[in-house]
């Protein structure tokens, strides 16, 4: 399964704090200088007045007032009925979609799960945007906000109250549709796919591939565009080794077997005997004593788990059960080894996989073999997924509300949607391009946007270098400026894909805390704080009167 391994959270947080600090310092500096130039000494003191007021406004907020404003927001959403239109639309769509396809009893649960989650995500997302982007501008336009701000209400409380109110509304809707979605999944997933409704808890290990000489190598690409899995040649000494850590005897009470689950790919360089599958061997190796136990031989069962087979006991679930005490052949004699006493050293265990069929290949990726810890129920994964979805919606509401503090409804909507579309579809591409741009030392074929425009107008093809001239210098400076701006922009665009936990849930995995739930939480918080500050200033430095 293509899951990232842990990235350091502390680094992320530090980076975020750094960026926030830099931006605030720059903002303060620019503000200070411009007010000094505009109003002299008095301007400067006024500026610092604004800043100190902002600090107290941002921190000394009253929960009761926020609650009052949130309640008002909720009432407004409910009474304005915009919400109901959304809800009706949602129900309509769900019903239309929920009869998708003839319910074939071989359809894997995956299809239903990702359908429900995707529908919920994509239906509530625009709702959240519309909800959060139109309320405040309407409030300002009707001047009902005037009456509010002539009460002892801080503008920061208005921002928080709005965010809280919309979040409450969207939470209620999300809860309703999630409960329906959950019931629907349980009811509609065909009986034989029901076993896929589970939250497996994988413990991944680091993977190394070793070539004939025992040196690390990257494996072979067998000509797949999709370079997830790399291949080792069968019938040779090439092997893939997983190093598992932190295996504790106490995690497997009552002499439970240790379960290894795998999902490898096979590649045949010739047809061979089609009726027998390609096979691989599994060796358990103690990383300290190097004691080695051949566990046995397994067929690859390539992609079998995609299919709702009528399974004999764990047949295509691709499970390898390792009992506490393993009997194995050493030469001619049968010996036994104790899993935790003989093989696991300080929680570490190495597993080596070799392909047995000569001239055939076995494709592996780091996530392809993992220790399957005791399973959790489907509900656990489901509600975690809903939780990350909720975080995403709160993030959207935060961004939408902030945008609406500064912009008018339609513009705020477009901005928020734009940011989301960038976040969903372009963020990865942008980061990739930028990475390439900077790793290539600022060289791009055909140049950046300004150079490209110049070439377009002057009919110059992209491989002809520009003449050395002032024009060239200007163009390149401008382009590097554009890239620098994009570089900054990548931090402003939220990575929406992080919130999508359905990839775990649909594949029968529990939603991991470290790589999904926590990052989602951090992204939401990370955006919440600056958005809150920006929203506050948007309302504060603006004359609500002047339209």
């Amino acid at each position: 399964m293509p899951f990232e391994t842990n990235h350091s959270l502390l680094n992320v947080i530090l980076q975020w704090a750094l960026i926030l600090c830099v931006i605030s310092v720059i903002g303060t500096f620019v503000g200070g200088v411009s007010s000094l130039m505009g109003g002299g000494k008095r301007g400067l003191s006024e500026f610092f007045g604004v800043i100190s007021r902002a600090l107290s406004d941002l921190i000394l907020v009253s929960p009761q007032r926020i609650f009052a404003l949130a309640t008002l927001t909720t009432r407004e959403s409910v009474r304005r009925k915009a919400l109901w239109i959304g809800a009706v639309f949602l129900v309509l769509f769900m019903f239309a979609g929920w009869f998708i396809g003839d319910s074939d009893d071989t359809t894997p649960a995956k299809a239903y799960i990702s359908f429900v989650i995707t529908t919920i995500r994509w239906m509530l997302l625009p709702l959240a945007v519309l909800l959060s982007c139109w309320g405040l501008p309407a409030d300002i336009k009707d001047r009902s906000l005037h009456t509010v701000v002539t009460k002892p209400v801080r503008r920061s409380e208005v921002v928080l109250g709005r965010i809280a109110g919309y979040s409450f509304v969207i939470t209620a809707i999300l809860l309703a549709v999630s409960v329906v979605g959950y019931a629907w999944i349980l009811r509609v997933v065909p009986e034989r796919s029901q076993r896929q409704l589970i939250s497996r808890v994988p413990r991944f290990g680091g993977m190394k591939m070793l070539d004939q000489n025992g040196d690390a190598f990257a494996g072979v690409n067998v000509g797949d565009m999709y370079d997830l899995r790399r291949f080792i040649a069968g019938g040779t000494k090439e092997l893939a080794m997983w190093q598992f850590q932190g295996l504790k005897e106490s995690d497997f009470p009552n002499d439970q077997s240790l379960r290894l689950e795998y999902a490898f790919e096979a590649f045949r360089s010739y047809k061979g005997d089609i009726s027998t599958q390609i096979e691989f061997s599994i060796d358990l190796v103690n990383p300290e004593t190097n004691q080695r136990v051949r566990l046995g031989v397994q067929p690859v069962n390539e992609f079998s788990s995609e299919i709702a087979h009528d399974l004999k006991e764990n047949q295509t679930e691709n499970l390898i059960l390792i009992p506490r005490s393993i009997s194995y052949l050493d030469g001619e004699t049968t010996k036994t080894a104790d899993l935790f006493k003989d093989l696991v050293a300080n929680g570490n265990l190495n597993v080596e996989i070799k392909c047995l069929d000569a001239a055939q290949y076995l494709g592996v990726s780091p996530g392809d073999l993992f220790v399957r810890m005791p399973d959790r129920s489907f509900a656990v994964g489901y509600w975690k997924t809903i939780f990350t979805t909720w975080l995403m919606l709160v993030l959207i509401i935060t961004i939408g509300t902030t945008a609406s503090c500064i912009l008018k409804g339609p513009v705020a909507t477009l901005t928020t949607f734009g940011l989301l579309i960038l976040g969903v579809f372009l963020k990865n591409g942008l980061i990739m391009r930028l990475g390439k741009y900077y790793s290539d030392g600022g060289e791009v074929v055909g140049g950046g946007s300004v150079e490209a425009l110049y070439r377009l107008v002057s009919g110059l093809n992209e491989s002809t270098p520009l003449d050395e001239s002032i024009t060239k210098t200007v163009i390149e400076t401008l382009d590097s400026g554009v890239y620098a701006m994009l570089y900054l922009a990548q931090y402003v665009i939220p990575d929406i894909s992080v919130f999508d936990a359905s990839i775990y849930l649909a594949n029968g995995f529990d939603v991991p805390l470290a790589t999904c739930v926590l990052p989602s939480l951090l992204i939401t918080l990370g955006f919440f704080i600056p958005a809150y500050i920006i929203g506050y200033f948007g309302l504060q430095i603006r004359e609500l009167e002047a339209k």
């Binding site: 009052a68 009432r75 009456t147 002539t150 009460k151 002892p152 004359e543 609500l544 009167e545």
Partner: protein
């Protein structure tokens, strides 16, 4: 009644405006309208201060600057001893906007409850105030109806109730009687006087000059954003240089005698005062004069000649 009709000059000022100027700008930052021009004013604690002027003369703009809804282009504002942008001053202020900008999807009860919450009032206090105010503005019969169904006068009434929810020290009323029926107008006037009796300060603007004359202690007349007239209502409406006598009933002979005596010395006078012009006259005259002699402003100590 300590702070009754007559105010000593030393009473503390609740509102202080100095050299206030407001220029409305368009999107490009170009000056569009100079709505208030170098306005200086002071409102003392416990008085009812009236702000008069024709449409577009800058009354509302001035009030909004007091509340921090608009930012002055120049000049200084001190209100209840604080800056206009300080939200904590709002704890002690009640404001009735020119039109009642309220949430139309709430009913009267919910409206007052909501604004009460914004003052961090406890539920019990909110309930008590709510009941009292709704009773006071006479909306008991409609307290559960959404504001979008209210008539203009009803909306004014709930607006007024909203302004008083926090039992404010300073009440700012922008045309409080507009849209009200005669009875309502009467009630509002009584209310304003009652507020003053409770020691509160009221700043109001209105086009109903008779009402202003009835309730205000002091007035200012603005024209084109400039202060034209400022002073006690009583002083302003007195015609100096003339005396008006009111005596007991005299027979013709006595009348002749009195006249004769009056020629020599004064006699039992029942009343003697300057003839009072009404506010309408003063207002119209001020406007005419301002049109005739633009740029001439109110100077402290000056009383307009009538």
């Amino acid at each position: 009644m300590v702070l009754g009709v007559s105010i000593s000059m030393s009473a503390e000022s609740v509102v202080e405006i100095r050299n206030l100027t407001k220029i409305y700008r368009d999107f490009w930052g170009r000056a569009k309208v100079k709505a208030v021009n170098s306005l200086s004013l002071e409102v003392k604690k416990g008085e009812i201060f009236g702000l008069l002027g024709p449409n577009g003369s800058g009354k509302t703009t001035t009030l909004k600057m007091l509340l921090g809804l608009l930012f002055p282009t120049e000049g200084e504002i001190k209100i209840l001893g604080k800056q206009a942008h300080d939200v904590s001053k709002n704890e002690r202020i009640g404001y009735l906007p020119e039109e009642s900008y309220l949430y139309r999807f709430l009913n009267a009860d919910e409206t007052l409850d909501f604004y009460g919450r914004l003052f961090n009032m406890s539920a019990a206090v909110r309930k008590e105030r709510k009941d009292k105010l709704i009773e006071m503005v006479g909306l008991n019969y409609a307290r559960r109806r959404q504001l979008k169904e209210y008539s203009k006068g009803m909306t004014r009434r709930i607006g007024l109730a909203q302004a008083l929810i926090n039992d404010p020290e300073l009440v700012i009323l922008d045309e409080p009687t507009s849209g009200m029926d005669p009875l309502g107008t009467r009630e509002v006037k009584d209310l304003i006087l009652k507020l003053r009796d409770q020691g509160k300060t009221v700043v109001m603007c209105s086009h109903l000059l008779q009402d202003v004359q009835d309730v205000c202690d002091r007035i200012a007349i603005l024209y084109g954003g400039e202060l034209k007239v400022l002073g006690d209502v009583k002083d302003l409406l007195q015609s100096k240089g003339e005396t008006q006598l009111i005596t007991s009933k005299l027979d013709p002979a006595a009348q002749a005698e009195v006249e004769a005596v009056l020629k020599k010395h004064g006699a039992s006078l029942h009343s003697s005062s300057s003839p009072v012009v009404n506010l309408e006259e003063l207002f119209l005259r001020t406007i005419e004069e301002s049109k005739a002699r633009p740029g001439r402003r109110y100077a402290p100590g000056e009383t307009p000649k009538v």
